[in-house]
């Protein structure tokens, strides 16, 4: 029955797209959306397919049950050390992502204006042809400067392969990913302070402090699970009383952006009372005395911290003493969007606190571990002499060479201050129109492009800005390349294909293969026109040889399909048994045979003595970063006056986050998850609300210097005064997302596009707004 319903929808949706008629849209949804879209599993045994989830960045392992070609249930895979035999609500609702009526089904070419959603259905070849013609023209105009084509990817899986295609093969330097609107400061701070990004051993820690990371609503495996099962003391700092705060042993409400003051004070107390691990400090620290002198001389006393954070000084003292007295304390570094200008130094302060406690490279701390290294599939990379370098890290001290800085990039493009024009963008699973501050500016950037190509599964706000939409299949319809996970209990996991891809959607590999075949020769000829080295080699070796040996075949990687590539790669490196395990169980790690149930479907994976708590590795703790000092920034964590949370009575600070049932904007249209939160509400302190006459459900206008939104209010005692929390992932503007369109409001409409200068990361919590009842 369910299947038939979907067949109907294909037809209707096709008409919908072809005619681009609004009235038809309404007709289609009202007539066809059935109130029930779940399928009861049968009482028959089936052989379930192991897969890896893709509803968020975690990649938990599951088994998919298929009956009559229809996925009826997704179950957790107990073999995977990382996901600990669980699936979250989103993982369970993955079925609804596959069978979403609004999914992108066919290649589409724009016939209307950007953003108005009018597209015509095209064949894959027509779509490739369209892209080819535009690209040849653009690259010709830009005299073979391949970097005129920017490309981005907001999806962890297949990212490296995507970079190989557009970076190595096509030759563009302008790759952007979610890192600069996410956690790059944390990665950078750890890398620069202890030489490795490491991994946090939550399960092994007996005392954990979390600043702002909402691990019980923004689930991370295995951290979220381990927090419940380990008998550690949990201390949570947050301006908002989250579920994590509720579950904590101690909740310390504080003002937003003042976590650094708390950290500085912890260090102050540790130095003053000599609580730190002297042996560790002696062995591992560089510039320890500089740090100590700095913290003490700045007088970051608990009383000082109280004045900044609102946390009572005795509490700060008590927590600090308990932390340093614990056997395996961990200051959890978080993994989420960057808050404010001090974010890099905040994360560094956290790393330094862990280091002062000796909680590095040991159980319960930041561990280095031993990830399983997968061999790379080598390809032949052409050299483009006319391809220029990236410009988005100009003015950024460190920055990620891989994913760059979105806001700096966008600013330079929009203000036309980039050294060369960016003319085209390839966007894969990256909802630019929702994911970064100041949506109007993103729109402007996309409008400046001669060609925008979107690879996605859903008609997102960003897809609606594309010239060509290429429908990618969802994670259950494809096999992906094997992936190595984790450091403490490392394992390999494979996303097996569960069902044939629906409609005309294709895997990224197949899309790139088709694109590569279409583009390689025409683009090669453009290069031959401008690239002198290539001209020489054509002269020497002839056209064909220059093409092949120069690595210009963009589809080189795709001579074999993913299944064949996996088999070759895994069998060659690890042997047949590992491959079989990955195919049959979806997972492989060395001690699978010894996996034992501890209780109630909860397992022990690596025997404790086999875990990589401590490895033999030379590293230093860098308390002082000279490069920062040279660039005119703080070399050590330091408080500045402008970090103070000090607002006028009528001013509010916007902070963001998300529900446990949403993954940013990616799950916005999921009909199952929508049952829990149909729209987002603005959290406002109940006393503030009372003063403004705002009641639950009242519509309020929130105004920033960028724009304004209208959103329903949720007056609550669970948030600090003069702070507003806007859950992210709502206020979708694409009418093709019928479950999500115009439900709630988008935080990024009003968040100002500021970024910090150490990593070029967007600072999400620095926007002050005013509001009034509508």
């Amino acid at each position: 029955m369910c299947y038939n319903t979907h067949m109907n929808i294909i037809e209707t949706s096709r008409r919908k797209f072809l005619q681009g008629s609004v009235s038809l849209c309404i007709y289609a949804t009202s007539a066809l959306s059935s109130p029930w879209q779940t399928t009861k599993t049968s009482n028959k045994k089936t052989t379930d397919t192991p897969y890896l989830c893709n509803m968020c960045r975690n990649k938990c392992a599951g088994y998919a049950r298929v009956e009559n070609g229809l996925i009826t249930k997704l179950n957790p895979n107990h073999n995977f050390p990382k996901s600990r035999n669980m699936l979250c609500p989103k993982g369970n609702a993955g079925i609804q992502a596959i069978y979403d009526e609004d999914r992108l089904k066919y290649p589409l070419i724009r016939i209307g204006n950007r953003g108005d959603g009018q597209y015509k259905r095209a064949t894959w070849d027509e779509a490739y042809e369209y892209i080819k013609e535009k690209l040849v023209k653009i690259i010709d105009e830009q005299k073979d400067n391949r970097s005129t084509i920017a490309y981005c990817n907001g999806e962890g899986f297949n990212k490296d392969e995507y970079i190989k295609f557009f970076g190595s093969k096509l030759g563009s330097a302008n790759f952007l990913d979610e890192g600069s609107i996410c956690l790059n400061t944390k990665l950078g701070a750890t890398q620069l302070t202890i030489g490795d990004v490491g991994e946090m051993d939550v399960a092994g820690s007996d005392y954990m402090i979390i600043s702002g990371a909402n691990r019980y609503e923004s689930l991370i495996t295995p951290d979220s699970v381990d927090m419940i099962h380990s008998k550690q003391k949990l201390v949570v700092l947050d301006p908002r009383c989250t579920v994590t705060a509720i579950k904590a042993d101690e909740y310390l409400p504080l003002y937003p952006g003042t976590d650094l003051a708390f950290c500085l004070s912890m260090m102050y107390i540790a130095f003053k009372e000599e609580l730190y691990d002297k042996k560790y400090v002696n062995e591992q620290f560089d510039d320890f005395e500089k740090l100590k002198a700095h913290i003490l001389s700045q007088k970051y006393t608990p009383e000082w911290a109280e004045s900044k954070t609102h946390i009572p000084s005795q509490k700060i003292e008590k927590i600090t003493r308990e932390f340093f007295a614990a056997s395996n304390p961990l200051y959890y570094l978080g993994r989420r969007s960057v808050w404010s200008q001090n974010d890099f130094q905040l994360r560094r302060a956290m790393v330094l606190i862990n280091a002062l406690a000796g909680s590095v490279n040991r159980k319960g701390g930041i561990i280095f571990g031993q990830p399983i290294k997968l061999n790379d599939e080598e390809i032949n990379e052409p050299l483009y002499n006319n391809a220029e370098g990236r410009f988005d890290l100009d003015g950024i001290v460190y920055g990620s060479q891989k994913g760059g800085s979105w806001l700096n990039f966008r600013e330079k493009v929009v203000s036309k201050t980039a050294p060369y024009p960016v003319k085209a963008m390839f966007i894969r699973k990256h909802n630019l129109m929702q994911n970064m501050p100041n949506i109007a500016k993103t729109k402007k950037m996309l409008e400046m492009m001669d060609l925008v190509v979107v690879l996605d599964t859903m008609p997102s706000d960003t897809a609606m800005m594309a010239d060509v939409i290429l429908p990618e299949c969802t994670y259950l319809e494809r096999e992906d390349m094997v992936v190595s996970f984790n450091r403490l209990e490392p394992s390999l996991a494979l996303r097996n294909q569960v069902i044939e891809s629906l409609y005309e959607s294709r895997s990224m590999q197949d899309i790139l293969k088709g694109l590569g075949k279409k583009l390689s020769v025409p683009l090669f000829h453009v290069s031959a026109k401008y690239d002198e080295d290539l001209q020489d080699s054509i002269k020497e070796d002839g056209l064909h040889k220059a093409f092949v040996e120069g690595g210009y075949d963009m589809a080189e990687l795709y001579g074999y399909n993913t299944t064949q590539r996996n088999k070759r790669l895994i069998t060659k490196q690890f042997g047949k048994e590992v491959y079989n395990s990955l195919k049959e169980k979806g997972v492989w790690y060395p001690y699978m045979d010894e996996q034992k149930e501890l209780f109630n479907d909860f397992y022990e994976y690596y025997p404790p003595e086999k875990r990589f708590y401590t490895i033999d590795k030379k590293y230093r703790v860098n308390a002082y970063l000279k490069k920062l000092e040279k660039a005119g920034f703080d070399a050590m964590p330091t408080w500045h006056k402008y970090y103070d949370f000090n607002l006028h009575e009528d001013e509010f600070r916007v902070i963001t986050g998300r529900y446990v049932t949403t993954t940013q904007s990616a799950t916005a249209n999921n009909v199952m998850l929508k049952d829990f939160e149909k729209e987002n509400y603005l959290w406002i302190n109940n006393n503030n609300a009372k003063r403004l006459g705002i009641k639950t459900g009242d519509s309020v206008v929130v105004m920033s210097s960028v724009s304004s939104i209208v959103i329903k209010a949720n007056p609550t005692n669970k948030i600090a005064p003069n702070v507003l929390w806007i859950p992210h992932g709502f206020g979708i503007d694409s009418q093709e997302m019928t479950n999500a369109y115009a439900k709630g409001a988008s935080d990024n409409m009003i968040i100002e596009d500021k970024f910090e200068k150490i990593y070029g990361c967007a600072t999400m919590h620095e926007t002050n707004v005013t509001l009034r009842k509508l």
Partner: protein
């Protein structure tokens, strides 16, 4: 023949709703906020920021309590509600006349109307899905990130649930009503 029950280590519940989605997908429960076999209730902390009374904020996963002495079964005029061979309170949709008496009689708000069959539906402990094909867990128990639920045979002294109930303090919801629930909340 077993006597199935469930023990809930409810203080481990983080209100993530995974169980609710798993239940809906496994058992083909209709979408819609009112149509749920299981749910998680939450209390807002009392007090004013920053002095919040965290002890007053709690999460309580709930569902049909699978009473041994079920009011819903007693009030059913056509025996549509019955105990199956494993002591699970079930509804025979063919016999249900939708008088809704059971919905009113259930002290736990555990029943709702399935709009497809227009009969009353409720938690079955996955009896006609997972258990019917020989699995030993319910969908909610299996998927739970923090493994709140332990499902098993109360008559088997060797079962994990029996062991838990012997060793951990527990209570039942609205025990004073004499419904003898087979859901046990561990403290």
């Amino acid at each position: 023949m077993a006597r199935y029950g469930m023990a809930l280590d409810y203080k481990n519940c983080i209100n993530c709703k995974a169980c609710e989605v798993a239940c809906k997908e496994e058992n083909g429960v209709e979408l819609g906020a009112e149509k749920h076999r299981i749910w998680v209730g939450g209390n807002n902390p009392e007090g004013a920021w920053p002095l919040l009374d965290m002890a007053s904020a709690s999460f309580l996963p709930s569902q049909c309590q699978q009473c041994d002495d079920a009011p819903c079964q007693e009030v059913c005029p056509t025996h549509a509600t019955y105990y199956d061979e494993n002591g699970v309170v079930r509804v025979d949709a063919d016999k249900c006349i939708l008088c809704s008496y059971c919905m009113n009689a259930c002290p736990y708000d555990a029943r709702y109307v399935d709009e497809r069959t227009m009969t009353v539906d409720k938690c079955t402990f996955c009896s006609d899905t997972r258990l019917a094909r020989g699995e030993t867990t319910t969908a909610c128990q299996n998927t739970c990130p923090t493994k709140v639920r332990t499902f098993g045979d109360l008559d088997d002294p060797e079962s994990e649930i029996s062991e838990l109930l012997r060793t951990r303090d527990h209570f039942s919801l609205k025990a004073h009503l004499g419904t003898k629930p087979k859901l046990f909340y561990l403290t």
